[in-house]
């Protein structure tokens, strides 16, 4: 195959073993057991798309565990958000959390993360990939989405197709919205009222300690290690769960359900993490620790509405 017959877009010269196409998730299929999946850090991904004027949930690249080298084969614009790293275009440094122009033939190099874990690379108009069940989100376990539609991770040699685009000027994320991945804030949690209803379970040990992120954490769940919590009453029959549900298995070590979570669960749930704090949690490397603090549901809903108004203005009534 000659270059002329290849699609226009970005050619992956080198990538990490965890480089994935993602979007806002495969919603609408949980009743059949299909995970919603989607990006791990909603805020960072939303900014990357926002900077390019892309609609909410436009397909972008998400990766962890190192850097990327991409050959540009299309005149377009790019935004890189999420974990902090070096960004160079033909050796010239480009700023993080901005949009910038790239020309066909240029080499884009993204270094390993110096703070945070997950990076996001969006292109103008998004990557043009056929969705499966309404989403391109790569679900490796379920073999859904991604470049080939069967949950494939991105590998060297892959083409990421995208359209030509031009903007009159650069734009960047305001500094006020810059997260500090080196000093993560406590993750705010809505306590499940059912767990403290009869007074037999006390939540204090959950808030008081710092929890270490286990190396066995993945896109499905972040496993916490600490002084074991007392067991919660058994859930007699499995029931639906949400992203951010904090399960408490019999060993007393909580699990925070993340993007690639299952749809239904049988473990008791002690509470639910603030959906807008999950991204910051996802950006904490294994071995480091996190603390939790309580928040009311009304406040979480207010934060979410504000977030959606900004990033999803078309979703409002």
């Amino acid at each position: 195959m000659t270059d002329a017959s290849l699609p226009n877009g970005l050619r992956v010269l080198a990538c990490t073993p965890l480089t994935l196409l993602q979007d806002a998730g495969r919603w609408g299929w949980q009743h059949l057991g299909v995970s919603p999946s989607g990006v791990m850090d909603l805020r960072a991904a939303a900014w990357a798309n926002y900077l390019l004027g892309n609609p909410w949930g436009t397909p972008l690249l998400e990766w962890a565990l190192g850097g990327l080298r991409l050959q540009i084969k299309q005149d377009t614009w790019i935004a890189v958000c999420g974990a902090e790293r070096s960004i160079t275009l033909d050796g010239q440094t480009c700023p993080h959390a901005t949009r910038f122009a790239v020309r066909s033939g240029q080499l884009l190099e993204l270094g390993a993360a110096v703070a945070g874990l997950w990076g996001y690379l969006a292109v103008a108009g998004g990557f043009q990939v056929k969705p499966v069940l309404g989403s391109v989100a790569t679900q490796m376990r379920e073999r859904l989405g991604g470049l080939g539609g069967q949950g494939q991770i991105i590998k060297a040699g892959d083409w990421l197709p995208c359209h030509r685009a031009h903007y009159p000027r650069a734009a960047h994320r305001p500094l006020a919205f810059k997260p500090d991945y080196r000093n993560p804030k406590p993750v705010r949690v809505m306590l499940n009222p059912a767990t403290v209803k009869d007074g037999s379970w006390t939540d204090a040990p959950f808030w008081e300690q710092r929890w270490r992120l286990s190396p066995s954490s993945d896109r499905m769940g972040i496993r916490l290690q600490g002084k074991a919590l007392a067991a919660l009453p058994v859930v007699p029959w499995s029931q639906g769960v949400v992203t951010g549900s904090i399960q408490l298995p019999p060993d007393g070590q909580p699990i925070v359900l993340m993007a690639d979570r299952q749809t239904i669960g049988g473990y008791p749930v002690l509470g639910w993490a603030h959906p807008l704090d999950l991204g910051a949690l996802a950006q904490i490397p294994a071995g480091q620790s996190v603390q939790f603090q309580p928040i009311e549901r009304a406040q979480v809903q207010q934060d979410l509405r504000c977030f959606y108004r900004f990033f999803r203005p078309d979703a409002q009534t």
Partner: protein, 222 residues
């Protein structure tokens, strides 16, 4: 009494009964269909458990209180609608199964039965789909004959082959995809249970009835 509990900031859990039953699962499916028909755009996703219905709602369009108000008349009708239970004729599947799983002998030994008895008991029960989840197309079937009830394996297998027919506690199921699993493997079902390119993508749906038909291993050569 129906419970209506918040789950996180963008979902609501309806607790519809204390105990599961085949009729309840069929009725939960009816309820979910009615809710989607009437409140469609507000609901992003729904997940039925054995006795519950979780509704993921769109916070841009509704919230817990608003949704609860809109659900009340639907739930009232559903509770008093005696016809909804009887008018619904559940779909019945017959799935051909090769009972040649690696745990068959273990299950027989633990239950104090012969392998032939285990196969006979497992294949003579009419099951119902009480929940769909864990993985795409994974249907939790209830309820297993008391004589076959065993706790899950103490160490889950890292990979259970696709199509594996398994039991654990009072449930039985087929793994639609290869996945880790802690259930005991009795056999194999060669029929696909999940295909994203077909409509609907899953074969077994909430409230459906399922019977397993033991296939003679000799017929594999045909």
């Amino acid at each position: 009494m129906i419970g209506c509990e918040p789950v996180g900031a963008e979902a609501l859990l309806l607790v519809l009964a204390d105990q599961p039953s085949p009729e309840l699962s069929g009725r939960i499916r009816t309820l979910a269909e009615r809710i989607l028909k009437q409140l469609g755009p507000l609901i992003r996703d729904w997940v039925a458990g054995w006795t519950t219905l979780l509704l993921h709602y769109d916070l841009c369009l509704t919230d817990h209180q608003d949704l609860e108000q809109r659900l009340l008349p639907l739930l009232r009708d559903w509770l008093t609608d005696k016809a909804s239970a009887s008018s619904l004729k559940p779909y019945q599947h017959e799935l051909a199964v090769y009972y040649d799983g690696p745990d068959l002998a273990y299950v027989a030994e633990q239950s104090g039965l012969s392998v032939a008895d285990v196969i006979q008991i497992h294949s003579s029960t009419l099951y119902w789909v009480g929940a769909v989840g864990f993985a795409p197309g994974f249907a939790y079937l209830g309820t297993l004959d008391q004589r076959l009830v065993l706790p899950r394996r103490s160490t889950p297998r890292l990979s259970v082959p696709a199509g594996s027919l398994a039991i654990a506690e009072r449930q039985t199921a087929i793994y639609p995809q290869a996945s880790p699993g802690g259930w005991h493997l009795l056999g194999r079902c060669l029929e696909p249970l999940f295909d994203p390119d077909t409509q609907p993508p899953v074969r077994l749906q909430l409230g459906d009835r399922v019977r397993f038909v033991a296939v003679d291993l000799g017929s594999l050569d045909d």
